[in-house]
Symmetry: C2
Subunit: 335 residues, 2 copies
């Protein structure tokens, strides 16, 4: 039997999908699809499916935090367009033996994060299955400015920024995996707590995303779910541009160095290829950098980190102080 | 371990879900949720998940027809509100060993039915899993009249109609199951082809749904996915009313009698409890029946079938020529 690679399948689907249709503003190819009634506000929609043993592991994931994460990864897609989350649909495939207390705790996590982001559950579906599978569809509106940020707007000379430390979630996942393989208790690893938390319960950058869309300073944006090497390559590809990343500029938690050593992993791999940080990567017009920083300082008190520059050509080129530049496009995390 | 029944879970979710929120017109509790920008047109959204071995069986379901059916069951939810289908998101959980040719044939079925209904694919997600699972989210707009039909509008005295023959899909499914158990070839059962087709590739009543919403004659509507006994009970419950069904009025294909006999099943059970016919059940103001029939005759050349009447009280009461009335509420099909 010929097997179809995920990439081939996505290409098949993408070729068959619409680029234009009545009321459609943006189809497949960004964090969300966008649609609108004529003249009225724009709606964003995104969907993500998580499978037990592939995208999460019930052995170490507390159900409340898994509930939060299932929603957070979708909130992050809305954040990546600068949108305001509104409505959620849940599709649950539940094994018959699933514990009722587990499910109630999971659902309390879902309910809590929805309330925190002003988002409400409006529909869904539950079916029986052998595996636990959770599919979330999230609908948002364009933020108050009406502006939406796509992956397509970056131009040569734009500065590449990220919204926060990278590699934390990937290190956290590796710590849980190591603990399980070696039958250790993560409870004794309190020095890594920030990394463990980054894996268990990532924080979507919803307020920042809206502020960036409103600022008028940002040209392209997406969230970092598959690792910067892949996610930035999407912006480059969609914008018809390349980029240079400066290895020494990539932000990380101070504890990441020691954790990388402890795990026997390259810190730079965690920063570039580790998925699931759910930070934002975005490009800023060079003449608007100071303006943007001032706006963010006054509204959100949030620091942002310049990590590279958009160039002519294509590919994500990594520059290090020692060593020659290398193309790292699409070398990110695959489940 | 305490197991949570599907009904208990749905209650839990329903209690936690929103009945009012900005831009939300209708949350959980109907065929679709409805939302709108202020003053602009209304959007409908629905999602359905199909699991291999639970909702379909690859042993007898040709992939093209399964692709059609995955979309059709969601189109039917849009039809049941009188909406116009617009956009689709696909979430696919694919076992690694799935055959590439199967998937391409499945997807061609999806593409064909989308094109036929003027609907376009705008997003989705593919993940690896042990089981094949297909989750479809469909977005529609209110039809040209702007009218949407809910389950809530039925009043005592309204006439209950269905849009076409019942029990066909349930008989078709039973025929496939019998053939598999007895290692027979369905190819020799050409006399049952209409029933087999009704199971393999149901036809959503999209044009009729829009025409009914536009007519101004219909007070409540939903599609028949779980069997008339259950689906009509939803209309009763949501409208705060009961209803009487007349057993002898229920429409069916002429071949259903012989098939029921062949299968050793009660024909009435197939009519009332068999799911997946995806016909519409709707209630009509008694003073508008003739008007509606005239409208449908001129626009769609479609016959509709009166099967009962809405009453005070609650429950779906079945009346037969011989035998005493019985309450059959919620006795429909469960996967």
């Amino acid at each position: 039997m010929a097997k179809l690679s995920e990439r081939a399948l996505i290409r098949l689907i993408r070729e068959a999908s619409a680029t234009s249709a009545p009321a459609l503003i943006r189809g497949i190819g960004d964090d969300c699809a966008v649609f609108s009634n004529s003249g009225a506000g724009q709606w964003l929609i995104t969907t993500d499916t998580l499978v037990d043993g592939v995208h999460f592991d019930c052995h170490w994931h507390p159900p409340e935090l898994l509930g939060r994460k299932c929603i957070a990864v979708n909130l992050s897609d809305i954040a990546a367009m600068g949108g305001c989350p509104r409505f959620v649909l849940l599709s649950l495939c539940l094994p018959p033996a699933l514990d009722s207390a587990w499910l109630q705790r999971w659902f309390s996590g879902v309910s809590n994060i929805l309330a925190e982001y002003g988002c409400v559950l409006i529909g869904g579906d539950t079916v029986r299955s052998k595996e636990l599978m959770i599919s979330v569809t999230l609908i948002g509106e364009a933020g108050s400015s009406g502006g939406i940020l796509y992956r397509t707007g970056a131009s040569p000379g734009d500065i590449v920024y990220v919204s926060g430390p990278l590699g934390s979630a990937a290190a956290g996942l590796a710590l849980f995996q190591k603990a399980r393989e070696e039958q250790e208790d993560v409870g004794q690893w309190s020095q890594w707590q920030a990394l463990l938390d980054a894996h268990l319960s990532p924080i979507p950058q919803v307020d920042l995303g809206q502020e960036l869309a409103r600022s008028g300073c940002v040209t392209a944006m997406q969230d970092i779910s598959d690792g910067l090497a892949t996610d930035l390559a999407h912006i480059g590809q969609e914008s018809g541009a390349g980029c240079i990343l400066y290895a020494e500029s990539l932000p990380s938690l101070p504890v990441l160095d020691a954790a990388a050593l402890f795990l026997g992993k390259e810190k730079l791999d965690l920063l570039l290829k580790g998925g699931e940080d759910y930070q934002l990567v975005f490009t800023v017009r060079p003449d608007r950098e100071e303006d943007l920083k001032a706006k963010l300082a006054s509204s959100l008190d949030q620091q942002i980190f310049p990590v590279g520059i958009i160039t002519e050509g294509q590919g994500v080129i990594l520059e290090k102080k020692d060593g020659s530049p290398t193309d790292i496009s699409f070398q990110g995390y695959e489940h």
